[in-house]
Every structure is written in structure tokens, then in C-alpha cells.
């Protein structure tokens, strides 16, 4: 401990404004972060992992685990113009969305370059919640200009949210007393009474970022620790464990989900022209609904669809067991014709395959694909060239992720 001549000054933190914020679940998560492996997300202290990333990954796949999504950005968009404003912003048509449903969306610049992806929760006739990975308020404000019957509230700090994923997640929620949770369909929302509070302060959506059975729990910050305690009490026999960014990244790759900074650059943050992506490049063309007469980027995206994107994001099954991290891809084994690059790669324990997401020039998708993989073995650098095979389906998509009620474990 450092002592100072002036004991009073130690009470003043000169970096107070710079310190990471603590999540509403921080007291519990800090106690479980055995490795003190903290990084940050949107200004929050955020765990890379708590004990061991692979252990946490196996909990996600084989029992259940919690992932703190307090740092995720959440906005209430409400008012008579809310639907019109959001529908003009996102590429999908949300006009027919039912209440208490969630939908995955992306939104683009006028040039059709992807700003971000996220989810829209329809919470009432004129009330929506938009969630996304990065702060989006500036874009929302731009998008809202001219819509008068509209309020946008940044709820990011006002809602405590916990992702709860894995095959035993439904069983744990049932044990916690959430009556009827097993009837909740994928992308559905239910509300529950909690801890004797009035009304139904606990919102549960059947959503997640692991491609498996899982839920996201939303509650007011004052009840966050009670929620944690109730969940962990119910989950103690079901292998409940917190997981961090590292395990999330493994699970989402197996599910084929994209990550900003890996598969795509948020369009408003790129410096170079077209170092960002269109939904078609990211194989998210299914999110773009041209039946909708107008949405941001529509004209540019029509061109992109008709001309075909220069690159296409694909799933690769790669020979061998060496992860193809940051590999270049070639159309021939001699590696003379470069056709793309790997964005994310791993050895998938659950699929037992060497998998990757990769950006490949669309015109070369039909031919051979070879990856040049560099790997280390006891400080020796090695490289090898292996064949890659395109995969259509997500690497990991168990039936339980879609079944209602989900199978009991």
C-alpha cells in the first residue's frame, strides 16, 4: 500500500471519470472471477473469462451458464411514429411483428453499408426495445429526425440483463418458479412476478448468442442481485457457471453468428471507403426485405444484390485440427491466387471439426479453397496448406434450440 503525506488526498480518485463502470451483477461476478480476467465492453468492467474459458464453454454446451449483457446497449423507442421510424431504419419489415416477440435486424447507411446488427423487442402497440453491441444513440437520433410522435430513451444503464444459455437453462428457470417458461417459443417474450415485487418485473426472452437453447433475463437494477441469487440457487444442481467473452466467442462461431470487429466493421467507424460490409457480403441477405417499399440503403442494396457482392461471408470446414486463425485463403494449393481471408476460426469441441468463418471473393466460391495455416509448436513456427469445404448450415444447431417445450435435462 502506498501512503501519502496528505491522507485526505487518497480519498480523491484523480481517474474517477476514467474507471470502468461496474455492472449491476458485479458483486456476484467479481466474487466468481477467480482469475481477475477483466476487460471492458462499452465502458463496463467485463469478464474475458472467470476461471477457464474452455470450462465455461463446456458449461454453455452441456449444462447452463450466465453471460452479463448489462453493457449491451438498450433503447426504448416508443410513440405513434416508433414503428415507421424503426421500419425505415432497419432492412427487415417489422410492420407485422406481433407484441411480445423479438426479431433479429440490421441497419445500414444510405450506401447500404452495415451500421450494426441487433434485436428489436416489440413490447407494446407503440413500444419497442432495440438492443445492439455498440452505442447507437447518434444514429437513432439521426434516424428519428422528422418523426415527431417519438421518444427514444437510452435504457442501457437502467436495465439489468443476463443471458442464460445451455441445455439445462429451461429446467433451471422452471425450478426457479417461472411457471410456463417451457411454453415460450424461440424469439418469444414472457413476463413474470419476481421476489414478491408487485407486477411482473422479470422479462424473459428466448434469445441468445450461442445457437443453443437459452434465454435472456431482463429486470430493473434494484432486483439484479436477487435475480442472480435466485437463479444460482436454482441452478446449483444444474452446473450453472458464469462465462465471459472468450467462451461467447467460441459458442457464437459454432452457431455461425457474426461479431463486430471480426466479421464486420461498423460502417460509421471505418476510415476507408468500403472497408465496411453490406448485408449481402455478410450472407445476411435474408434480413433485407425488398418487398418493403423504402428503408435506408434500399437502392444501394438492390444494386449490391443484383451485381453480387464482391466478397461473401462463408462457413468453412477445414482439414486437420489446427485453427486457421487469420489465415489467407487461396484457390490453389500452391497459394499463388489469393481469394479471401479467415475472420474467425477454432477447433470446435462440440462439432469435432476445424471450423471458420471467412470472407471469400464471391466469384471464387465455386472452386477449390485452400487455407495457409500458421501454427506454433513449442516455439517453432510451422505452416501448412489444407483444403477447406464450404458449409451451408450453422456448425452447431441442436434441435433443442428450436423445440417447445425444450427437452428436459
Amino acid at each position: 500500500m502506498i501512503t501519502t503525506m496528505n491522507p485526505e488526498s487518497s480519498a480523491i480518485d484523480p481517474y474517477a471519470g476514467e474507471r470502468l463502470k461496474e455492472s449491476h451483477f458485479h458483486p456476484r461476478q467479481a466474487a466468481l472471477n477467480l482469475r481477475d480476467a477483466w476487460s471492458s465492453w462499452n465502458g463496463y468492467k467485463f469478464a474475458d473469462y472467470y476461471y477457464d474459458e474452455e470450462y465455461e464453454y463446456f458449461c454453455v454446451r452441456n449444462s447452463c451458464a450466465t453471460y452479463d449483457i448489462c453493457p449491451m446497449q438498450k433503447y426504448y423507442v416508443s410513440g405513434k411514429d416508433a414503428q415507421a421510424m424503426l421500419n425505415r431504419m432497419v432492412t427487415r419489415n417489422i410492420a407485422n411483428m406481433k407484441e411480445q416477440r423479438v426479431t433479429y435486424v440490421c441497419w445500414c447507411t444510405d450506401e447500404g453499408r452495415m451500421v450494426d446488427d441487433g434485436t428489436i423487442f416489440k413490447l407494446g402497440p407503440d413500444k419497442y426495445m432495440l438492443t445492439c453491441g455498440s452505442p447507437c444513440l447518434a444514429w437513432l437520433r439521426k434516424s428519428a429526425f422528422g418523426f415527431d410522435a417519438l421518444t427514444i430513451e437510452d435504457m442501457s444503464d437502467e436495465i439489468a440483463a443476463l443471458s442464460f444459455q445451455g441445455p439445462t437453462s429451461c429446467a433451471v428457470l422452471k425450478k426457479m418458479g417461472l411457471a410456463g417458461i417451457d411454453t415460450l417459443k424461440p424469439f418469444g417474450i414472457m413476463h413474470f412476478p419476481f421476489a414478491g415485487s408487485s407486477g411482473e418485473p422479470l422479462m424473459v426472452s428466448r434469445t441468445g448468442f450461442t445457437g443453443d437453447l437459452g434465454y435472456e433475463l431482463w429486470i430493473e437494477p434494484g432486483l439484479a442481485l436477487d435475480l442472480w441469487d435466485a437463479l444460482y440457487a436454482a441452478g446449483s444442481d444444474y452446473g450453472i457457471q458464469p462465462y465471459g467473452e472468450a467462451a461467447t466467442n467460441m459458442a457464437r462461431l459454432e452457431a455461425g453468428f457474426i461479431m463486430p470487429g471480426r466479421e464486420f466493421n461498423e460502417a460509421l467507424k471505418t476510415v476507408h471507403y468500403q472497408h465496411d460490409q453490406t448485408p449481402f457480403e455478410l450472407s445476411l441477405g435474408w434480413l433485407v426485405d425488398f418487398k418493403k417499399p423504402h428503408f435506408n440503403g434500399r437502392l444501394a442494396l438492390l444494386k449490391d444484390r443484383d451485381n453480387g457482392p464482391e466478397y461473401t461471408l462463408v462457413k468453412l470446414d477445414i482439414e486437420g485440427n489446427k485453427p486457421a486463425e487469420e489465415s489467407h485463403l487461396y484457390s490453389n494449393e500452391r497459394c499463388t491466387k489469393e481469394i479471401g481471408y479467415v475472420t474467425s476460426a477454432m477447433w470446435s469441441p462440440v462439432v469435432k471439426a476445424n471450423i471458420a468463418l471467412a470472407m471469400i471473393k464471391t466469384q471464387y466460391l465455386q472452386g477449390d479453397i485452400w487455407a495457409e495455416i500458421y501454427y506454433g509448436r513449442e516455439l517453432r513456427h510451422n505452416s501448412k496448406v489444407v483444403r477447406c469445404t464450404l458449409q451451408d448450415k450453422p456448425f452447431w444447431a441442436p434441435g433443442r434450440a428450436r423445440q417447445t417445450p425444450p427437452p428436459a435435462y
Binding site: T109, D110, W139, K142, S143, G146, P293, N296, L299
Partner: protein
């Protein structure tokens, strides 16, 4: 069958010009005008029994090509054979007088330098002149035609010769003050010469931007940009435009306020399909062309829900606040200005460039100056039907009067400015106050209300480097077409800009006809 091929919103001069070109090529054209008369800011109206005036009180660069193309002479338009003198007023009557290539009231050295200055600026004005009537290339354009426009501009620049080309590049965005200080000694001369670069803008002599460009734009006119009042007055010009339009088969409906541009929305996207009037009547047409300003066109008539987000924000950010108020005086006789035999010139009250700058300074903070600077004409001297026999109209543009006055434009604020302006003019024209039968002051907010032009801005939106050429009004709508298929722009908010010129109406018609063929 649709009754009309094209509906044009706004019967200002650009709307009428565009309509006439379209009708002459066989289109059935309807022009909708919200107010009771055609002509927009150039419309002549009675402001006191027997006394008439138009907000635009002179012409400086009305397009000779439009006059020829539309046979305006056959419809009664005759341009003034000679321009008016421009007179920089002094209290003592030792005025600075500009008449063509001659300048009086200044030193021999300033006279010599004025000839050099004028020769150089005329070279630059001639260089740019063809481009005011061209469609500017799209940013990032690669079509041969568009690249040719760039190539032609480059070639013409090169043909200036190395020295003048360099000088053009240096001078084009120079603050007017620097250019004047380089050339002249006489303070009033400098103020008078910079005036045409400044009036109608939110810029003053020290503003580095497009004041020299605005000057060169005006110098494209037939008398090298010198102002004149046509025979028949501004009224005569508007009547000729109206008559040419009617003769071409254009239908003009006044008192017909557009409420909404109707948009057809289906899985092919959006398309303009007609206009819904404020009273609910819907009129279909294949094309809609807006001569009204870009903000009103897009934010009110189209609606943001039909536009893209970044485009909307660029339109919203357009700088549309006007800074010119208009003073109209009905006089029982000819005003008598110190040292002037006849007040038949264009008279400028701006003793030096600092006076202009200080007036501008106040306006930046939402005030108007107690020493406003202004341009005065007595249009009834040139066009006698504006006032009863022996009586006159005094018309003055007053700079810099903010659209958004701190505290808002109240009746009292307007009256105070009117009184102050009259006081100032009376210093130069003693006896004026006793001649006044009626006075009227129109603030930019009044011009907005009466003429349906956002901010009361002469150019619909500031004519500045960031909003001119291929940036006017903004990229994505700078070639008269808009992001909405079937919707075009033809007003002062489009290249080349405002003032009584006709370029936007002419250029838009060419684009529309080119697109259809």
C-alpha cells in the same frame, strides 16, 4: 390517362421557365402556386393603394439563353438598354459612381486599378459562365458526359494561361476584403465592389467562402452583372414568363398550395405520382418538379419517412436562414439624395467594409445592427406604373437582418428596424421622412411567410462553397433528380443558385427531358 405529364410546384421564375421548356417539348404541364400570383420573390404587388413593388427590384444576370429560347421578347420582355449606375453614397455627396468600366469619385490610381480588376474578374466570369447552364457531374461520376464537364472546366482554366489560372485558384475563395485591399485605396469603393458578392448571403467581407464566386455568378449577366430594371419593370419580366408559359400550353393555378407530394410505394420502391393540395385535392402526374426550396420540398412535401437517413440529415442541415430584409416606402415625391441629380442608380449605403462587417457581426448573434447597410433603388423612376403620377416607390434591401431574431420578430421589433432604416436613409436624403405616405418592412420571416420560402432566403439555401456546384443543394440531389424517382428539383436551391437568373429552371428541364427520351 393522367391529365398531366408533369406538375411543377411553385410559379416563381424558375418554375415557370422549367414548365415552359417542358410544355414546348410536348408535355402537359400544371404549375401550382400557393400564393395568389405568379413570380415568387419577383412578384409585383400593391403595398399601398396605387403603389406597387417587387421584393426582387433589379436584374443583374438573367439568362440571355432563356430569353432567346422562350421568345420572351415576343411576350413583351425588353431588357434595359443600359444598366443602372451603382452609387456608393456618402453623407456629404462625394459619391463613388460605377458606370460600366468607369468609376468616378476615386483617385486616378484606383481608376486604373479598377480597370485591371474588372478585366481580370470578367475573364474569370467568362470562364465560369458556360457552367452555370450545365448540369454538374455527380461526385464519383464516371460517365463520359460528366467527365467531359470536368475536362471542359479544366481546359478553360488552362486556357486562361498559367498566371491567370493561378490567380483564379487563389482568388476564387478569397474573402472579398483581401481582394479589395489588394487593389484599392478608397474605402467606399471597396465596400461597393464587395457588395454584390455579399448581398443575399450570410457572409461579410472577411468571410472566406464563396463571395467572389457569387460575384462572378452575377457577372455572367448581359451588362457584366451591372444591375438594371427592364423596360416594363420586374413585373414585365414576370408577365413575359407567365405569358410564354401559357402560350406553350402550361396550366397555372394560383392559390393552390401543395400539401404533400404523393408517393407511390410498392415492392418496386418509391415513385412520385402526383401532388395532394393542402385542401385535400389530389392531382396525378407522371413527374413532379419542385421549384420550392429543398427543405420544404423534402422535409414537408415528401416527408422523411420516404427519404434516407443521411440524406435527410444533409437536407436538414442546409443553411437556409435569410439575412436580408426589405423596406418599401410609398413617397409623395422624388427623394432628394445629397449630391445626386437623380436617384436613378442603385445606391449603396455602406461607408466601408468594416461597416458591413460590423452589421454582420450583430446578425451572427441574433441581432440587427443599429447601423444597417443597404441597397436602395427607386424603381418607379424606371417603371412609372409602380406609383401614381409624380409619386414614387423607394425599395431597399437591408443587410444583415437575421431570420431568427433574438426574442423573435414582433410587431415592435419590425417597427423599430423600419424606423432605424428610414433614419439612416434620411441622413443621405434629407426631407425623406416628410415624403413618406406609407412604409412597409419585410423581415426574412415575413418573406418566408408571404413567399413560402424557407428562412426567407433569396437563394433558398446559402450559396456557399459547401452548397454550390455538385454540392447544391447536397450530393444525391445535385443533378435536379432526387432519390425519389419521378421527383425533380428546379428552384434556386439547385445549381447554379438564385437571383433572377433562370439557370435552375433551364437546367432541370434539360435533365427531365433527357431522362424521358
Amino acid at each position: 390517362m393522367q391529365p398531366y405529364d408533369t406538375i411543377i410546384i411553385g410559379a416563381g421564375h424558375n418554375g415557370l421557365i422549367c414548365a415552359t421548356y417542358l410544355a414546348r417539348s410536348g408535355q402537359r404541364v400544371l404549375v401550382l402556386e400557393a400564393s395568389g400570383s405568379v413570380g415568387g420573390l419577383a412578384a409585383t404587388r400593391e403595398f399601398h393603394p396605387g403603389f406597387k413593388v417587387s421584393v426582387a427590384h433589379t436584374v443583374s444576370h438573367f439568362s440571355a439563353k432563356v430569353v432567346d429560347d422562350l421568345d420572351l421578347a415576343a411576350h413583351g420582355y425588353t431588357s434595359a438598354p443600359a444598366p443602372m449606375r451603382t452609387v456608393g453614397l456618402t453623407l456629404g455627396g462625394e459619391h463613388v459612381v460605377l458606370a460600366g468600366a468607369d468609376v468616378g469619385g476615386v483617385s486616378a490610381q484606383d481608376i486604373r486599378r479598377y480597370r485591371d480588376y474588372r478585366r481580370l474578374l470578367q475573364r474569370f466570369a467568362d470562364l465560369l459562365k458556360p457552367f452555370w447552364l450545365k448540369t454538374m457531374p455527380r461526385i464519383g461520376a464516371s460517365s463520359l458526359g460528366e467527365l467531359m464537364t470536368f475536362a471542359r472546366l479544366g481546359l478553360r482554366l488552362r486556357l486562361l494561361g498559367k498566371r491567370d489560372m493561378g490567380e483564379f485558384m487563389r482568388v476564387a475563395t478569397l474573402p472579398a476584403r483581401d481582394l479589395m485591399d489588394e487593389y484599392f485605396d478608397h474605402e467606399l469603393l471597396k465596400a461597393v465592389l464587395s457588395w454584390d458578392g455579399l448581398i443575399g448571403s450570410k457572409m461579410a467581407p472577411r468571410s472566406p467562402n464563396a463571395t467572389i464566386m457569387a460575384m462572378l455568378y452575377r457577372m455572367s449577366g448581359e451588362h457584366h452583372g451591372a444591375h438594371s430594371i427592364p423596360d416594363g419593370g420586374i413585373e414585365g419580366l414576370v408577365k413575359a414568363l407567365h405569358s410564354a408559359a401559357l402560350a406553350a400550353g402550361v396550366e397555372v393555378r394560383t392559390g393552390a398550395r401543395a400539401g404533400r407530394i404523393q408517393i407511390l410505394a410498392n415492392d418496386n420502391g418509391l415513385r412520385a405520382r402526383g401532388v395532394e393540395l393542402a385542401d385535400g385535392e389530389c392531382i396525378d402526374a407522371g413527374l413532379v418538379v419542385s421549384a420550392t426550396d429543398p427543405q420544404r420540398t423534402f422535409l414537408e412535401l415528401v416527408g422523411v419517412e420516404n427519404l434516407e437517413i443521411e440524406f435527410t440529415n444533409r437536407i436538414q442541415r442546409l443553411r437556409c436562414d435569410g439575412f436580408v430584409a426589405k423596406l418599401h416606402l410609398a413617397l409623395n415625391g422624388l427623394p432628394n439624395f445629397n449630391g445626386l441629380a437623380q436617384p436613378d442608380g442603385r445606391m449603396i449605403i455602406a461607408p466601408n467594409m468594416d461597416a458591413i462587417e460590423f452589421a454582420f457581426d450583430d446578425s451572427k448573434y441574433g441581432e440587427y445592427s443599429q447601423q444597417p447597410v443597404m441597397e436602395i433603388v427607386v424603381p418607379s423612376l424606371h417603371h412609372s406604373s409602380l406609383a401614381p403620377e409624380g409619386q414614387h416607390v423607394l425599395s431597399a434591401h437591408i443587410m444583415y437582418v437575421p431570420y431568427k431574431l433574438k426574442g423573435g420578430w414582433t410587431e415592435e421589433a419590425r417597427a423599430r428596424l423600419c424606423e432605424r432604416a428610414v433614419d439612416i436613409i434620411a441622413q443621405y436624403a434629407p426631407g425623406l421622412k416628410q415624403q413618406i405616405l406609407h412604409s412597409e418592412l419585410l423581415t426574412p420571416a415575413d418573406l418566408e411567410r408571404d413567399h413560402n420560402v424557407t428562412g426567407g432566403h433569396w437563394h433558398h439555401t446559402e450559396l456557399s462553397i459547401d452548397q454550390m456546384l455538385m454540392m447544391r443543394p447536397t450530393y444525391g440531389a445535385a443533378q435536379y433528380s432526387t432519390p425519389i424517382p419521378g421527383l425533380f428539383l428546379c428552384g434556386a436551391g439547385s445549381h447554379p443558385g438564385g437571383g433572377l437568373m433562370g439557370g435552375p429552371g433551364h437546367n432541370a428541364a434539360r435533365e427531365i427531358l433527357g431522362k424521358k427520351s
